[in-house]
């Protein structure tokens, strides 16, 4: 029997980026807020100081910052006809754990989606006709437009101090930035990061091929920054231990470096770490959340009542809590009905490695940051005519190599033995003179009828709750997209002067063991119709109006960018709606 705690105005489930944003916004509005976080408290000088943060074995190989599969995991299958099995070691994505969430280990690549991404179904149908889209593709519009959330992209970028070069300032295209981006109301708060040699060379080659390269927008800061909350960040040192690592130098934007120092000083904020929410409680009508139940590290169960519940866990856990709490109709892929679990997506990543003459090219790949890089956006979204190509979607591509860490940075040309003296010699020969972007082609992943999340019929977690079952595979549209983009990318690497280019196309079936990105999206998507969306345009549950669901679980499909900028902008947008409208008159913000 759960012990009941005093009620709070708002209960936040998960203290990552969106949980921290909401906690700050709601405490600013005067609410008593408690945030409940499954993982431990984490802070820069105690948890990832520069004396020990740069430990590739501990963080990259042994996954120090991530959830332990023994704590909870997911089952996985490619096809509905298969039997899903539990994931026992993380591969394709890295579920974050602990205060700061994925905001601790992310690269800090801080992109905006294209204006057309938010009206994707309408846009593609108008340009190419409905029959151009694969019949089982279930993409839809978001219910918000780029223009509506532009001020909130801006809020997030100025919170983080994002470093970049504006390409479209209030409609004016600026040389050196991304000419395809939507209009931004202000320049980036800090100039773009300096680019190392190979990244610069990629930009030069791309320009010579007629593209418009620009520096990747980066939450690893080019210079010291004072954010609007009064919190300070330092300049990035290009240490090359960023993605998968916490930053010891206060130079990567994270909840720790941009929000939490102010949040923890507030008397109306309380955080409970090492506490896992097991369900959202509803009243007898099923239309109102009364709070949450959680289990602390000692195994004791607690009930935390609250007037408002903010679900801000990682994509799959948001969906899991909705399914386990009986909120919203579970998705049924056969009938094509229901919403919870629907339109689950990931990313379509591939890479090209270039081998250069070691006598002429010394790239020093260890000089890098998590979001370093020169990119082009000619092949993202609908920035090019898809008519001749027979697919939709796209992605940015670039030399975005984030490190030269020794365990994983061993690029060798095709045909090299996998081990032994010849392999060692090839590693030595190529370490300084190879270009290995890692996620060089960062493609979209659109939604399909048979890619979804539901509860596994067999496997359960340590509390006896069913695991979430992932059913996911690549469809021809994404594989065609990837083949096209990978070839274009390889052309640029070739033009840099590579003597040999190795392409690694993304191929089906979807491989759960091979890392792509942690950008799992969808499953509780936003939209305008309760039949095809779990939450409205303000991220408010259609079924339980005092529940708001943050994060990429709300993306109807995934675009060809990293999702954090967009999910953070949506969190600010939702917080604004809660503060300006909902709190004055709690109830549905959109009448379905």
């Amino acid at each position: 029997m759960a012990r009941k705690l005093p009620a709070k105005d708002a209960v936040i489930v998960g203290l990552g980026w969106t949980g921290s944003i909401l906690a700050h916004e709601l405490t600013e509005a005067g609410l008593e807020v408690v945030a409940i976080e499954r993982g431990p408290w984490r802070d820069t000088p105690t948890d990832f100081p520069p004396t020990s943060a740069q430990d590739e074995l501990r963080y990259r190989i042994r996954h120090e910052l991530f959830l332990r599969p023994s704590q909870t995991t997911f089952s996985f299958r490619n096809k509905m006809s298969e039997t899903a099995l539990p994931i026992r070691t993380w591969g394709a994505f890295m579920p974050p754990n602990g205060v700061g969430g994925g905001g601790v280990h992310w690269n800090a690549e801080t992109w905006r989606f294209l204006p057309s991404d938010f009206v994707l179904k309408t846009h593609l149908t108008e340009r190419y006709g409905a029959s151009f889209l694969p019949p089982d593709m279930t993409i839809q519009d978001w219910g918000v437009t780029y223009d509506e959330i532009e001020p909130y992209y801006d809020r997030f970028e100025y919170l983080c101090g994002t470093s970049g070069t504006a390409g479209n300032l209030r409609g004016q295209i600026h040389e050196g930035g991304n000419p395809f981006e939507g209009p931004r109301s202000r320049p980036y708060p800090t100039p773009a990061q300096a680019q190392p040699f190979s990244h610069t060379l990629f930009g030069k080659a791309a320009r010579e091929l007629g593209y418009k390269p620009f520096p990747q927008p980066s939450g690893n800061l080019s210079q010291a920054y004072l954010n609007p909350l009064g919190i300070r960040l330092g300049p990035c040192t290009y240490c090359g231990f960023c993605e998968w690592f916490g930053c010891g130098n206060y130079s990567k934007a994270s909840p720790q470096t941009t929000i939490l120092p102010v949040l923890v000083r507030k008397p109306n904020f309380l955080a409970r770490d090492n506490c896992e929410v097991t369900r959202i409680n509803l009243d007898s009508s099923g239309k109102r959340a009364t709070g949450v139940t959680y289990v602390d590290a000692g195994g004791e169960e607690w009930e935390q009542p609250g007037e408002l519940v903010i679900l801000s866990a990682y994509t799959i856990f948001n969906v899991q809590l909705l399914l386990l709490s009986g909120i919203g109709k579970p998705y049924d892929p056969v009938a094509g009905e229901g919403v919870i679990g629907r339109n689950f997506t990931h990313q379509t990543i591939s890479d090209v490695t270039g081998f250069f003459d070691a006598a002429k090219f010394i790239f020093n790949p260890f000089i890098a940051s998590g979001s370093i890089g020169m990119c082009i956006d000619e092949f993202n979204g609908d920035n090019f005519d898809h008519g001749p190509h027979g697919f939709v979607g796209g992605g940015y591509m670039g030399q975005v190599q984030t490190n030269g860490r020794p365990i994983e940075t061993t690029p060798v040309p095709p045909g090299t033995p996998r081990w032994g003296a010849a392999w060692k010699s090839a590693v030595r020969e190529n370490y300084l003179s190879a270009v290995k972007p890692g996620t060089g082609v960062h493609g979209s992943f659109y939604a399909y009828r048979d890619v979804y999340l539901d509860l596994d019929p067999t496997y359960k977690d340590r509390f006896g709750r069913p695991l979430v079952r992932m059913t996911i595979d690549f469809h021809d549209n994404e594989l065609k997209q990837n083949a096209f983009l990978t070839d274009r990318f390889a052309d640029i690497i070739q033009a840099m002067g590579a003597k040999q280019v190795m392409k690694e196309y993304r191929k089906g079936p979807y491989d759960i063991t091979k890392y792509q990105t942690t950008h799992l999206c969808g499953g509780a998507v936003m939209g305008t119709d309760p039949k095809t969306s779990a939450i409205n345009r303000y991220l408010q549950s259609w079924d339980v109006p005092n529940l708001f669901v943050m994060g990429a679980s709300g993306f109807p499909q995934n675009a060809g960018y990293n999702p954090t900028g967009t999910l953070a902008a949506l969190a600010f947008w939702s917080a604004e709606a809660i503060r300006s409208t909902y709190l004055k008159n709690p109830g549905p913000l959109v009448n379905a």
Binding site: T51, L226, R232, P235, Y250, P261
Partner: protein, 428 residues
């Protein structure tokens, strides 16, 4: 250490006997105060607010509140002195275990004359030699504020010192040597701001309690006022206007920002100063902080320049390499750091100090800077004690103490070894 303690104890006993023998207690010679019945002035808002402010200025909470217990001023915190521990009293209005039944005269006598209600002397861990400079009105304003805090029943055994220091009569001898009672007298040749600063520094702010070098009996070396002293395993640096060791390169704005926000363009507060800022100076008005700055900027340091260690020395070469490897990412290769975030080592009084206690401690054990309303970031430096051995710590500290225009005595591996051993016995 033991020998020093034995000498101290012996000397105190002899002095005490001498003083008692002639039957004169210094404290009885002090300015007489009018006794009277204590009146609760609970409704006088202006007085209570003034008292609340002065309670912060005098940093009463630092000793009388145990951090994190949620019982303000209930006492019981163990105060480390060179001679042992003393527990701070309960100063809540609790009738039995606090000061609820004390008269104003008794309160004033304790604060300004170091005299307990039972007539016995207080140990100078209670900085009454400084509070003695305060006006009676200010002391009674503090009393009025303390009357408004929640009474907490918390009996405190204050006598934790070993025999014979536990004989409080010994303090009479100490008083005879070091206690110069009397209210602050303004210097008419100086500005009102300077005089206000002098009052705050010498009186309620009791800066010298940490920053003035001490005699072997723990009294202030008045000739060395505010020129730096070792306290509780830290070195409270020279805060005079001395440009070699002190604040000579700091502007009044730098001093004000440091005291108010815990950070300025050059430095960051950590250790006991972080606590002082959090509890005391961050709550002070800008006018008072500028007054303090004006007074400190008028204090002569008188330290002599040291010739810098030569760059070809082995320790300098090793230290430079270690610096570039493990320090420069934050403090930058040129030692300028990042303003308000990572201290500029060349401008830090702790780096320039004659005594490297604080530097060694921070490198071995790391440190967390204070977070304040205006500077909430509170960045921390990690511990390097597990990573660098004694000679490496010595080398890198010798390097930073002799680079970028700084010249200070080299640090030896033996000093680091001693500090490491002593720190091992410290919990915090």
């Amino acid at each position: 250490m033991l020998r020093a303690l034995a000498i101290t104890i012996g000397a105190l006993v002899i002095l005490a006997l001498a003083v008692v023998a002639i039957g004169v207690g210094v404290r009885s010679l002090m300015t007489p105060v009018v006794d009277g019945i204590h009146h609760r002035k609970g409704q006088d808002f202006a007085l209570i607010e003034r008292g609340r402010y002065l309670t912060a200025v005098a940093d009463c909470a630092s000793c009388h509140t145990i951090p994190g217990e949620g019982r303000p001023f209930a006492g019981g915190r163990r105060i480390e002195t060179p001679f042992g521990f003393v527990a701070a009293a309960n100063i809540t209005p609790d009738a039995e275990t606090g000061i609820g039944t004390w008269t104003d005269r008794q309160f004033d006598a304790a604060v300004r004359q170091g005299e307990r209600r039972d007539g016995k002397p207080l140990y100078p861990a209670m900085p009454f030699p400084y509070y003695s400079r305060m006006s009676r009105e200010d002391v009674l304003a503090i009393r009025a504020y303390l009357d408004t805090v929640a009474p907490v029943r918390n009996p405190v055994t204050s006598d934790l010192l070993p025999f014979p220091l536990s004989i409080r009569a010994g303090m009479l001898a100490w008083d005879a040597l070091y206690f110069r009672p009397g209210e602050f007298r303004p210097d008419d040749t100086k500005s009102p701001e300077w005089n206000r600063g002098a009052y705050l520094v010498e009186g309620p702010g009791h800066c010298g309690a940490c920053h003035t070098p001490k005699t072997w009996l723990g009294g202030d070396e008045n000739a060395q006022k505010l020129r730096g002293s070792v306290i509780q395993g830290w070195f409270a640096p020279n805060i005079t206007n001395d440009s070699t060791r002190g604040l000579g390169r700091w502007s009044p704005d730098d001093i004000v920002e440091y005291l108010r926000d815990g950070h300025n363009r050059l430095s960051a507060a950590t250790g006991p100063m972080a606590e002082e800022i959090a509890l005391s100076s961050s709550h002070m008005t800008d006018a008072d902080l500028y007054a303090i700055a004006a007074y400190l900027k008028d204090q002569r340091g008188g330290s002599e320049a040291t010739p810098p260690a030569r760059s070809e020395d082995a320790a300098m070469a090793a230290g430079g390499a270690i610096y570039r490897d493990v320090c420069s990412a934050c403090h930058t290769p040129d030692g300028r750091g990042v303003p308000y975030l990572f201290p500029a080592l060349a401008a830090s009084p702790s780096v320039r100090s004659r005594d490297p206690t604080t530097l060694i401690r921070i490198v071995l054990r790391g440190a967390r800077s204070v977070a304040t309303v205006r500077e909430p970031t509170g960045p921390g430096m990690p511990a390097f004690g597990w990573q660098l051995d004694d000679s490496e710590v010595a080398a890198v500290l010798t390097y930073i103490r002799n680079s970028w225009g700084v010249a200070a005595a080299p640090v030896t591996a033996e000093e680091v070894h001693t500090a490491r051993t002593r720190l091992a016995a410290r919990s915090e």
